[in-house]
């Protein structure tokens, strides 16, 4: 098993009600699979599916990116800086 930290921002943090959470996952879990798990836990996140950027350890990732123990994960809702 691996443990990752997920950070929540903006609208996601409002839905989840916290800024970070730790998840223990089976080895080989991908970013996309972790997102599906979060949507199951917080159905209001479902509207963000397909509109996300993915990050692992502050670098952009892909849904197929395989997670490793200790990773910091972020699912980035549509950005609106500038």
């Amino acid at each position: 098993m691996i443990t990752v930290t997920v950070r929540f921002f903006a609208g996601h943090r409002d839905i989840v009600g916290k800024a970070t959470a730790q998840y223990t996952l089976t080895e080989g879990t991908t970013l996309g699979q972790l997102w599906e798990q979060l949507v199951a836990e917080y159905p209001r996140l479902a509207g963000y599916t397909g509109r996300l950027l993915f990050a692992v350890n502050q670098q952009f990732g892909q849904p197929a990116t395989v997670l490793a123990d200790g990773d910091e994960v972020a699912f980035i809702p549509p950005v609106s800086g500038g």
Binding site: R7, F9, A10, G11, D14, R51, L53, A55, Q58, Q59, F60, A74, I76, P77, P78, V79, S80, G81, G82
Partner: protein
């Protein structure tokens, strides 16, 4: 010494950034200031709150500048983005690009702003004058 890529809660001042990017090879400096407007889509705004994934956003700003440098012959670049509560008229973002010639400086500055709005992990919460609030997407 001005850090080139910064997320900060402090008010933004372009002067030190302009000074930091200039070299004797550069004939052009383009500065973009993104300023908080008093309305969006016709609805009055009271103030904005910006939030960033700071540890990632600053490196992404650097990555975006590198993308611009791969496309146009430009010199130094500074991008500073403010977070926290911003009032109408305050500056949310400064993009400063030096280049030997103005076409590259204009194109790169515009590109950097486009990319910030596409991929920089920064979010804006609109606080409407009627008291409602929402994250802009």
């Amino acid at each position: 010494m001005v850090e080139p890529f910064v997320i900060t809660t402090e008010p933004l001042d372009p002067a030190p950034l302009v000074a930091a990017v200039q070299t004797p090879d550069d004939g052009a400096v383009v500065t973009f200031s993104g300023v908080v407007r008093n309305h969006f889509g016709g609805r009055p705004t009271a103030f904005l709150v910006y939030e960033a994934y700071t540890e990632m956003a600053a490196p992404v700003l650097r990555q975006i500048a590198d993308e611009a440098r791969a496309r146009w012959p430009i010199g130094k670049v500074c991008v500073h983005h403010r977070v926290g509560r911003l009032e109408i008229g305050e500056t949310a973002v400064l993009v400063v690009v030096a280049a030997p010639h103005r076409d590259a400086a204009f194109a790169a500055a515009a590109y950097i702003m486009d990319r910030i709005k596409e991929i920089a992990p920064i979010w804006k919460q609109e606080h409407w004058a009627d008291g409602a609030a929402e994250w802009r997407e």
